[in-house]
Symmetry: C2
Subunit: 328 residues, 2 copies
Amino acid sequence: MIIKQKTTLSACLILMLYGLALRPAQAADPLPSWNSGNAKQAIIGFVAAVTDKSNPQYVRPEERIAVFDSDGTLWPEKPIIFQLAFILDRIRLLSKEHPEWKPEQPFKAVIENDMQYLATITERELMLLLAASHSGTTPNQFFQRVNDWLATASHPRFRALYKQLTYQPMLELLGYLRSAGFKTYICSGSGSDFMRAFSEELYGIPREQVIGSPPEYDFVETPEGPFILRQSKISTLNQKEQKPINIQHYVGRRPVIAVGNSDADLQMLQFADNRRDPALVVLLRHDDAAREYAYDQDTAMLRKAAQERGWCAVSMKKEFKKVFSFEK
Amino acid sequence: MIIKQKTTLSACLILMLYGLALRPAQAADPLPSWNSGNAKQAIIGFVAAVTDKSNPQYVRPEERIAVFDSDGTLWPEKPIIFQLAFILDRIRLLSKEHPEWKPEQPFKAVIENDMQYLATITERELMLLLAASHSGTTPNQFFQRVNDWLATASHPRFRALYKQLTYQPMLELLGYLRSAGFKTYICSGSGSDFMRAFSEELYGIPREQVIGSPPEYDFVETPEGPFILRQSKISTLNQKEQKPINIQHYVGRRPVIAVGNSDADLQMLQFADNRRDPALVVLLRHDDAAREYAYDQDTAMLRKAAQERGWCAVSMKKEFKKVFSFEK
């Protein structure tokens, strides 16, 4: 290939100009909604270390796995987890065709909006509601229902759509980690199909990187072709020790970064912090009653482990410059 | 930004030269080990259609999922599946420390290399061997054992290492699909950890894109930190209708391309061919006794379905220019 010297020089100039144009973006704060402080510094320092080939903490790209809990970590979980709000709305809609539900708990509480009863609903009752509201559909039909609901359903306190309530600092953290070569996963106790309906749009996380509590599926053949159908039983509840177990099943390796907020996340965070390899473990503390909710006292186990192991505790009150994107 | 006209022109020239340098590669045959014919044409035609935005068959990048069976689809499965060869070698090694195994089936057959017995081994017996040979290890220890075995174990007929027996045309197909934006998955009845040990090195498929039959895992905490331990029980056997069900669990959507070779792949192939959306279903026919094995007659169900539904049947004898990379 014959290229004149001048052409090469001009090309270099262009590459340099491109470089200059890119530099401000790279130097810009990757976490603008985080206040300066220990947490932000720890995150940026860890990412710099594990992506630097000359650093002993270096982590190869294929090992860069980051897992995030969902409820209370990526968006709120109060007054009730958003999936429950979705189920309740659906049960109320269906109740017109099911008069037999009216005197029967937990349906009665749902129809009468008895929040006191619903606040302490048992797992078995929740499964009953889930089965009554959403079994027998295909995953695609279910995704559509979730998205139809998200398009209009709004939070009782914030007067915003549920889908607008993703934590802005966490969105920035997800994007920052991806730009550093991390594969970001959601690993949550919520239903897999519920989260997969919006994980891409809300978090930039594809469906296959969502680990949740899946329903059992059936594969059925019909004259119109085969279908996967959602059954009424939950396959496994993805919480506590089931989180690391499912991460091993889905990902096949230890996560290098784990972010959670409740005692049900403890084992997932311990799995990341294996005491042998580089790990960043982040614990989100809900201590901001003014902008969100304060229920930090409910996570005694997690806070104890965080203190003993020196995990990165993030106070929403202190570290989050803003909580939601719509804040001024 | 101020750039002189001449500089811009020079840059265009460079881009053109780059373009010329690239063109031969793009125009080159993406499947050089495939003979020209219906199968190759169908594959290339399908990929062209689903990646062309103006084509009614267009498939968005996030939906481009391709699933491949492993044994008999990506490498041979005769005289026995390679994972069984691995297990047998391990049992023989361990048998020195387990004199109690000697009179007991299926261990007796393994120790005495009774291939007649082993050829018709039951699923329960296989699980017994698997449990005796490989439970109680961490996944990482197990990956290491598989790779140690692969480094030296060779196939009784081909006199090559097992790891050299990947089908060259299938390696090309995997690479071609990835270059067209497909995410390639293995979905096989073999153990997940067995395949994850080498999926990246042999096929360029990361661990998280391997769906197999996983063992049950335990999460245990020790003074040295937490560990995942492999248990003796297989969690679910990934074959027949379990394949589409597990694809839904792991990927969250229908695969657009499915490639298999045995009746245990039938439902996975049906799942791809849902009769409503674009699908390429490929059936590999083992009909080449000279270069590999001929046991096409064992897959009556699959061949019947392929004929009825017009799936792309690939005769190894006719369509594969070479089977293994080491052939001349």
